[in-house]
């Protein structure tokens, strides 16, 4: 009789946990964007950045951040709550190397429920376009996505997990590594 009760409880827990786990996994997958279709641009780009950091690597990276160094301490503050950081950035030598269809698949993912387009800045003169998306759960940010395009550059950022945007915005100044971004260079002019 006792074994029957124990087995029943175990089965109940299992039946409860499996759908819960599946829901959580599905949710995490939704926040993470599939950027693999951009890999083909790497060979065409003059400069490229490809960052794929999942939970385990983020934790490992966090252990190597020195809080006594201001830059790394600022990064560590932003790191808390992150589950994944995925960045693909390409700089091309000439215009028209990538097409709108390359970005369309990412836009399609960002049209799924949960994602909200917060800001879109478009410059017809320079052909520059920056879009900022957020996935919210109440007041909590579960993930962000940034798509920045201009004729010679394509950058897609996807961050999974709760993130403090104010700290992230301040990070650029704290890191103090200017002129790596074409956008900033153009603005300076």
């Amino acid at each position: 009789m006792k074994s029957v009760i124990t087995k029943s409880l175990k089965l109940t827990c299992l039946l409860f946990l499996v759908p819960l786990f599946a829901t959580i996994t599905a949710s995490a997958q939704d926040v993470r964007l599939q950027l693999d279709n951009l890999n083909k641009l790497e060979s065409k780009a003059g400069n490229s950045v490809d960052v794929t950091l999942d939970g385990a690597l983020l934790q490992l990276a966090g252990k190597f951040l020195d809080i006594n160094k201001p830059k790394e301490a600022a990064v560590k503050e932003v790191l808390a709550g992150l589950k994944g950081v995925y960045v693909k950035s390409f700089e091309f030598d000439k215009e028209g190397v990538y097409s709108a269809t390359d970005v369309d698949s990412i836009h399609a993912q960002l049209r799924s429920p949960g994602w909200t387009r917060m800001v879109g800045v478009k410059s017809n003169k320079e052909g520059e376009n920056v879009e900022f998306y957020m996935m919210m759960n109440g007041n909590q940010v579960n993930g962000i996505a940034v798509i920045a395009t201009d004729p010679k550059q394509l950058t897609v950022v996807n961050i999974v997990g709760s993130i403090d945007l104010e700290k992230l915005l301040k990070l650029s100044g704290k890191l103090g590594i200017p002129d790596l971004d074409i956008d900033l260079g153009k603005q300076k002019k």
Partner: protein, 203 residues
Amino acid sequence: MNEDYLWDKTGERDPEIERLERSLSSLRYKRTSKPLPLPVASRPQFRLNSTWLAAAAAIALLIFAGGLWLALHRSNSNEQSNGIAGGVVPEPIEFPKDVSVPPTVGTVNPTVQVAEDKKSDRLPETITSRASHNLNSSTQSVERMQKIALRVRNKERVLREEETIRKGELAKEQLIKALQITSDKLNAVQKKIQGTQEHNPIS
């Protein structure tokens, strides 16, 4: 009546005796039990010879090696856990130059053993000497093998730690780069929004 045939079946056959034999054949003596064993002078006594001595030495060696391995294994496990907890980096590997000829330093001294055997006249000298020497050299070899294995394990651990450090540093650089790009993009958006608001102030 022919008596020779009656006594030892030699000579001329006697029909009357044959008839009597046939009629009495059912009562003839038949042996049912086994014959008694012949008297044995003495059973072979147990003797301590070279075969028994070699077997005993082998068993003793096995027990000793097993105990040694167990002790070293335990001490190694303790050392490893302490090393990881305390961040101790083990010394680099130095393989022994001469493994084949171990020094005759140990708990059993063959010469003394031989001398004692001579005195008591219990065992032949050569057998005891060889067994002791074999035991000693085998123990030394086992110890050396254990040390080598320990050093190899330490080396592997160091390599794993180095690999983790390398991965961690790379992940850190990537993280900083990724967050920097993200931050720059968001700042660019913010500046453009602010610029637009300045150019087109809300009246």
